[in-house]
C-alpha cells in the first residue's frame, strides 16, 4: 500500500483528505475555527482571536456566543489548512438557508455566511443561514429520522426538529416522584423491589432526548474520548514558556472552568496575563 504524499496543488479544496482530516481552501476568504483544531497549513494564513479589533464587523454578523468566544479564532488569508480533532471522523456539511444545532465540542469550523448562536439546550450551538461547516464525530455520523429517542452522549445534533425534549423512563419517574410505597404494593416483583430500593442498579438508560416531527437527527457512536496521551507537551512548571496554560488539552468544551464568560481582550485577560 502506498501512502499518498500531498502538496498544495493536490490537496482537496474543501474536502476530506482522509476520514480524519479535512482540508479548507482559503482564497482571501475567512473561516471561523475552533482553537486547536488546525493541524497544518500551506500559504499565508493569519489566525486572530474573536476579540481582534479588525474582525468587529465579521463577529457582529456571524458570531453570537460570548460563552464560546474564547474557544474560537478567525482564519483569513490564502492557502490550504488541515483540520482534525482527536482522530474523530471529520466531515463537512452544507446548509442551504437552514438551521442546525450541534454539540459545541463537535463543531470544528464554519463559513462566516453562517451565523453561530447558542442553543437553548445547554452545550449546543445553532448554525443559521447558508454555507458550509465542518464537524467531528466519534465514528461516522448516522442520520436518523424522527420519531426516535437518543442517548444524550450519542447525540451530535439535529436539524429542523421543532421540539427536542427530555424523556424519562416510567420507572425512574415513579422513583423520583417520592411515593414509591403507594404503588409498590402491586408490583412487589423484582422490578418493584428495584424501584423501591434501588437494588440492582440503574440501567443507565432512564433518560433520553426525544425527537418528534419533521427533521433529521445526527448520531455518533459515543462521546467518550480516548485517554489523552502526552505528545511532547511542555511540562507544567513555572518558568517554562507555554507550560500549563492548558490550551487544547482539555477538549475545548467552553471556558466553563473560569467562571464568567468573557470576551478575549477584555481587562480580565490582561489581569490574568500579569498575574493579578
Amino acid at each position: 500500500m502506498t501512502v499518498p504524499v500531498f502538496d498544495p496543488a493536490t490537496l482537496p479544496a474543501d474536502g476530506n483528505v482522509n476520514p480524519y482530516t479535512f482540508c479548507v481552501e482559503l482564497q482571501g476568504s475567512q473561516w471561523f475555527l475552533q482553537k486547536g483544531k488546525m493541524i497544518a497549513y500551506y500559504g499565508q494564513i493569519e489566525f486572530n482571536g474573536i476579540g481582534h479589533g479588525a474582525l468587529e464587523r465579521l463577529v457582529r454578523t456571524s458570531f453570537h456566543s460570548p460563552l464560546h468566544a474564547g474557544d474560537w479564532v478567525v482564519a483569513q488569508g490564502s492557502g490550504k489548512m488541515l483540520l482534525a480533532d482527536r482522530a474523530f471522523d471529520v466531515n463537512s456539511f452544507d446548509l442551504d438557508d437552514g438551521n442546525l444545532t450541534i454539540r459545541a465540542g463537535n463543531l470544528l469550523a464554519y463559513q462566516p455566511s453562517l451565523a453561530l448562536k447558542q442553543s437553548i439546550v445547554p452545550g449546543f450551538l445553532t448554525l443559521i443561514g447558508t454555507g458550509k461547516f465542518v464537524a467531528a464525530s466519534n465514528g461516522p455520523v448516522v442520520f436518523m429520522e424522527p420519531p426516535m429517542r437518543v442517548d444524550p452522549q450519542a447525540l451530535v445534533g439535529w436539524a429542523d426538529c421543532p421540539s427536542p425534549c427530555h424523556h424519562y423512563d416510567h420507572g425512574y419517574v415513579r422513583r423520583a416522584g417520592g411515593t414509591p410505597w403507594s404503588s409498590g404494593v402491586e408490583s412487589l416483583g423484582a422490578g418493584g423491589l428495584r424501584a423501591m430500593t434501588g437494588i440492582g442498579g440503574a440501567s443507565g438508560e432512564e433518560h433520553q432526548f426525544e425527537f418528534v416531527g419533521a427533521g433529521t437527527v445526527l448520531l455518533q457512536s459515543s462521546e467518550t474520548l480516548m485517554p489523552e496521551q502526552a505528545t511532547g507537551a511542555v511540562p507544567h512548571e513555572p518558568g517554562v514558556p507555554g507550560g500549563g496554560a492548558g490550551h487544547g488539552g482539555t477538549g475545548g468544551q467552553g471556558p466553563l472552568g473560569s467562571g464568567m464568560p468573557r470576551m478575549p481582550g477584555q481587562l480580565g485577560d490582561l489581569q490574568r496575563r500579569f498575574g493579578l
Partner: protein, 216 residues
C-alpha cells in the same frame, strides 16, 4: 440474526416481542418504537447461582435486558464493534467486551485453569482475562467491542496462530491456547523486544484480534 452493522462503531438491533436481548448498561445510543431497558441484577442469564458464580469469577459485567418492539442502536465508548454469528459453537470472550447478545445464547463462565492448569491461569493474567472468562454458546449473534478494528484469523490444525496477548479479543470453536514465552536475558535486563509473551492458538476455529494493544 438481529444485528446490522451501521458503521464500524455502531450496530442496529431489531427487538421483537417475546425475544430478549442482553446488552451492556449504558450502551444504548438511540431507539425507535417501544423498547424497555431493565437493569439485570444477575448480570445475565440463569438464577442466583449463576449470578454468584459470575461475581466470584469477576465476570459480572453490568448488563441490562432489552425487550419490546422496535430497533435499538448500540455502541459504547467509541470502541469498534464486531458482530459474531454463532451457529452452535462456543465463543470465549471477556464479559466487559460484550456490547450486546441474543437472549437465545447460553451464557456461562469458564475457569482458565481448566485449559492447561497453572499455565492457563498465568495466561489469563497476561492477557488481562483474569482467572475466568465468559462463554456464549448456541445459535445467535454477539456484538463484541474492541479498541481499534477487529480482524478474524482462521486457525486450522496445520496452522496454529500466534497472537499478542494484549491484542487478543475473543475466539470461537475448538481451540486450545497456550502461552508461549520467549524470555531471554535481554528481558531480564529490561532490553527486551516487548514481545516476550505470545498466545499460541491451535486446533480449528477463529481468533478475533484487535488492531491495538490497548485494553478496554
Amino acid at each position: 440474526m438481529p444485528f446490522r452493522e451501521v458503521n464500524s462503531k455502531m450496530v442496529e438491533a431489531t427487538v421483537r416481542p417475546g425475544q430478549t436481548m442482553y446488552s451492556q448498561r449504558g450502551a444504548m445510543l438511540g431507539y425507535r418504537g417501544e423498547v424497555s431497558f431493565t437493569p439485570n441484577l444477575q448480570g445475565g442469564q440463569g438464577g442466583l447461582a449463576s449470578m454468584i458464580g459470575r461475581r466470584v469469577a469477576n465476570e459480572a459485567t453490568p448488563l441490562m435486558t432489552v425487550e419490546g418492539d422496535g430497533t435499538v442502536l448500540f455502541g459504547h465508548g467509541g470502541h469498534h464493534v464486531h458482530v459474531v454469528q454463532l451457529a452452535g459453537e462456543t465463543l470465549y470472550v471477556e464479559a466487559d467486551r460484550l456490547l450486546a447478545f441474543d437472549g437465545t445464547l447460553r451464557q456461562g463462565t469458564m475457569f482458565m485453569g481448566s485449559q492447561g492448569g497453572v499455565m492457563g491461569m498465568v495466561r489469563g493474567q497476561v492477557t488481562g482475562q483474569g482467572l475466568f472468562t465468559t462463554t456464549l454458546q448456541g445459535h445467535g449473534a454477539v456484538a463484541v467491542m474492541a479498541h481499534g478494528g477487529v480482524f478474524e484469523l482462521q486457525v486450522t490444525p496445520q496452522r496454529p496462530v500466534h497472537v499478542d496477548p494484549q491484542a487478543y479479543v475473543a475466539h470461537r470453536g475448538d481451540l486450545r491456547n497456550k502461552l508461549s514465552t520467549a524470555l531471554g536475558w535481554r528481558d531480564m535486563v529490561g532490553r527486551g523486544s516487548g514481545e516476550a509473551f505470545q498466545l499460541e492458538l491451535s486446533g480449528s476455529g477463529t481468533v478475533y484480534v484487535q488492531a491495538s494493544e490497548e485494553k478496554l
